[in-house]
C-alpha cells in the first residue's frame, strides 16, 4: 500500500480518495509509516502528532461518508514549516528561543487549509528563524537531502522540501524571504512556489524580514502548486500588507495558452559561477519553449546581478534585528535563569536562546540601522532596491516571464559552506531579486546532474501574474517526466 501512494501528487491522492480507493485514515497511516521508516536518516521534522493527524483523517472520512467532503484537499496531509502557526502545536522556528512555544492561534493559511479539510502533518525543520540556505543552522540538528544524505536539502525551508522529496507527505508549506522555497525545491527535485508579495497572508508566520517574507508551497507538480495557491491566497484584514486582488482560478488556467509567450532570459544569470550541467539543462528547457512557439529574448538585469545580494543582506538583517527584538525572555520564549536584573535578562536570554547565524544577523542589522550608519547602509539599500524593482518592471514591458536557473550549483555537501557566511549568501544570487522586487517565482525540476542531483528551473512572473507563470511552468512539466522521479531511500 504505502509505496504506491507516498510519491503520488495531491491531485492523484485526491482522485483516489474521491473514488474511495483509499481512505484518509489509510493514507495518513501510509505517510506516518513512511515517516517512521526514513526520519532517522532525513530529519525533516521537528515534531509531529500522529494521533492528532489520524483523528483528523477519521473526521475527513466521516465527512466523505456523509457526502460533506470539503473539496480536493479534504484528507490530504500537509506539512508546516516550523514558523507557521497551528493552534495547539509547537512553533520553534528551529530555535532554542522557542523550544517550548505552543501556538495559541492558527495562521490565516492554517485556517484556510483546515477549512479545506487538509490535515496538518508535522512541524518541519528550517534554518533558525529562516536565516540560512542549507537547514544546517537549526538548533535541533541539520536535515539531509533525500537524494544524497551527505548533502544539504537547501534552506531555509529545507525540512519542508526534504519531507516531500522523501515521501513523508505530498505537500508542505514553506516561507521564502530570499529563495527559501525555490532553492530547496531545486535541491530536492520539487516544485517550489513563491507568490507575489501580498498575495498570501503572513498572519501567523513568525517574522524574519517583513517586506520580503512570503508563504508558499513545496509540491510534486505545478498543478498541485496551483491548487494550493487557490486555497491559501487572498486578502486578510489581519495582514495589512496583504492586497485585494482579483484571483483567477489558477488550476483552470493551466491548460490555457492565450498567445505565444515572450520569455526573457537574463544574460547575467548565465555568467561565471553557474555550474555547466545546470546551464545546459536550462538551455534545453529554453529549446523546449522555443519549439513550443515561445519567443525567447535575451534581457539584462545588471543592477540585480551586481547588487541584489548586498541590498538583501542590509534590508533583511535590518528588518530581522527589529522583528527579533520581541524575543526578550519576558512574555514568551526562553528566559535566562542566571541573572535577575531586567536588562541582563534581556541580553542573557537572547544570548542563550539565539544561535550563531541569528546573532550575526541581529548585530549586522542593528549596526546598519544605528545612528551614523543608517543613511550609508539601510537607506541606500532601500534606494537601490527601488532601482532593482524598476529594472525588473522595465524588462517586463517586453516579456511575460523571465527564465533562469534557480541556483548556480546543485545541492552542496553538509558542512561545505557553513564556515563562510558570505559564500553561503552568494548561493542565493538568482532568487533574491524576486523578493526585493516583490515578484512571484517558481522553481521546477528540469533535469539531474551526472551525480544524480536534481536541477531547478526558475520562472519569474509579473506582479500577480501567477496564472500565466504557472501555465508556462505546467507546459514544461507536461512535456517532461522529471517530476515523476523520486529518490531511492
Amino acid at each position: 500500500m504505502s509505496a504506491s501512494v507516498i510519491f503520488k501528487s495531491v491531485a492523484e491522492l485526491s482522485a483516489l480518495l474521491a473514488a474511495k480507493s483509499i481512505s484518509a485514515c489509510e493514507l495518513m497511516q501510509a505517510f506516518a509509516a513512511r515517516t517512521t521508516a526514513v526520519e532517522g536518516r532525513v530529519h525533516a521534522f521537528n515534531s509531529r502528532d500522529e494521533a492528532g493527524a489520524l483523528s483528523l483523517a477519521a473526521a475527513s472520512d466521516a465527512r466523505r461518508a456523509a457526502g460533506q467532503t470539503r473539496g480536493p484537499l479534504d484528507g490530504i496531509p500537509i506539512g508546516f514549516k516550523d514558523v507557521i502557526a497551528v493552534e495547539g502545536q509547537p512553533l520553534t522556528a528551529s530555535s532554542k528561543m522557542l523550544a517550548n512555544f505552543i501556538s495559541p492561534y492558527d495562521a490565516t493559511v492554517t485556517t484556510k487549509l483546515k477549512m479545506a479539510g487538509a490535515i496538518p502533518w508535522g512541524r518541519l525543520n528550517l534554518d533558525e528563524f529562516a536565516m540560512g540556505s542549507s537547514t544546517e543552522n537549526s538548533a535541533f540538528g541539520a536535515t539531509a537531502n533525500p537524494w544524497d544524505l551527505t548533502r544539504v536539502p537547501g534552506g531555509s525551508s529545507g525540512g519542508s522540501a526534504a519531507a516531500v522529496a522523501a515521501g513523508e507527505m505530498p505537500v508542505a508549506l514553506g516561507s521564502d524571504t530570499g529563495g527559501s522555497i525555490r532553492q530547496p525545491a531545486a535541491f530536492c527535485g520539487l516544485v517550489g512556489l513563491k507568490p507575489t508579495y501580498g498575495l498570501v497572508s503572513r498572519y501567523g508566520l513568525a517574522a524574519f524580514a517583513s517586506s520580503l517574507d512570503q508563504i508558499g508551497t513545496l509540491t510534486r507538480t505545478v498543478g498541485d502548486a496551483a491548487q494550493m495557491l487557490k486555497i491559501i491566497a487572498g486578502h486578510d484584514a489581519r495582514d495589512s500588507t496583504s492586497l485585494s486582488t482579483v484571483m483567477p482560478d489558477y488550476s483552470a488556467a493551466l491548460p490555457k495558452k492565450s498567445r505565444p509567450w515572450r520569455i526573457g532570459v537574463p544574460k547575467e544569470f548565465f555568467g561565471p559561477g553557474l555550474d555547466a550541467e545546470i546551464g545546459a539543462a536550462v538551455q534545453q528547457a529554453l529549446a523546449f519553449y522555443r519549439s513550443a512557439g515561445a519567443e525567447i529574448t535575451e534581457v539584462s538585469l545588471p543592477l540585480t546581478a551586481e547588487y541584489a545580494i548586498a541590498v538583501y543582506y542590509l534590508i533583511a538583517t535590518a528588518e530581522a534585528s527589529s522583528n527579533l527584538a520581541r524575543y526578550d525572555g519576558i512574555r514568551y520564549g526562553h528566559r535566562a535563569r542566571t541573572t535577575t536584573d531586567a536588562i541582563s535578562i534581556y541580553a542573557q536570554s537572547r544570548a542563550e536562546g539565539f544561535g550563531e547565524e541569528v546573532k550575526r544577523r541581529i548585530i549586522l542589522g542593528t549596526h546598519v540601522l544605528s545612528s551614523g550608519y543608517y543613511d550609508a547602509y539601510y537607506l541606500r539599500a532601500q534606494k537601490v532596491r527601488a532601482l532593482i524593482r524598476g529594472e525588473f518592471m522595465s524588462v517586463f514591458q517586453n516579456c511575460d516571464v523571465l527564465l533562469s536557473p534557480t541556483t548556480p550549483t546543485a545541492a552542496f555537501k553538509i558542512g561545505e559552506k557553513s564556515a563562510d557566511p558570505l559564500a553561503m549568501y552568494l548561493n542565493d544570487i538568482y532568487t533574491i531579486g524576486v523578493n526585493l522586487a516583490g515578484l512571484p517565482g517558481i522553481s521546477l525540476p528540469c533535469g539531474f546532474t551526472t551525480g544524480g542531483l536534481p536541477i531547478g528551473l526558475q520562472i519569474i512572473g509579473q506582479p500577480f501574474g501567477e496564472a500565466e507563470m504557472l501555465t508556462i511552468a505546467h507546459t514544461y512539466e507536461q512535456g517532461h517526466a522529471w517530476h515523476t522521479k523520486y529518490p531511492n531511500l
Binding site: 508579495y197 484584514a237 543592477l303 514568551y332 541582563s344 546573532k359 550609508a376 547602509y377
Partner: protein
C-alpha cells in the same frame, strides 16, 4: 568615511540587547567586516533622486476597519509565559 572599518561590536551588541562572549565578538568582528566590505559596493550606484522602497509592493497606507474582534483569553495569553502568578506575567523588578 569607511564604515566597514569601524563596526564597534560591543556597542552594537548593547543596542541589540545581546550578550556576546569575547570569542563571539572577535569572530563576528572579522565576519561582519568581510560582509560590510562586500556591501560597500552599493556606494558605486547613483541613487540621486531615488525614493527609498520600504516594501515589496507599491502600497503606502492601509486603514483597518474600526471593529471589535475577540482577543486572547487570560489562559491563552499566559500559555507561553516563562513565569506567571495570579493571572500575570512575573517580570524582574526594575524599580528598587
Amino acid at each position: 568615511m569607511n564604515p566597514s572599518a569601524d563596526i564597534n561590536i560591543e556597542y552594537v551588541a548593547r543596542l541589540a540587547r545581546l550578550a556576546l562572549t569575547a570569542a563571539e565578538q572577535q569572530k563576528l568582528s572579522q565576519q561582519l567586516g568581510d560582509i560590510l566590505h562586500y556591501v560597500d559596493k552599493l556606494k558605486q550606484v547613483d541613487v540621486t533622486g531615488i525614493e527609498p522602497m520600504a516594501h515589496g509592493s507599491p502600497v503606502f497606507n492601509v486603514w483597518g476597519a474600526d471593529v471589535i474582534m475577540a482577543g486572547f483569553s487570560v489562559d491563552q495569553a499566559l500559555q507561553n509565559a516563562p513565569e506567571q502568578r495570579d493571572d500575570s506575567i512575573v517580570v524582574p523588578k526594575i524599580v528598587e
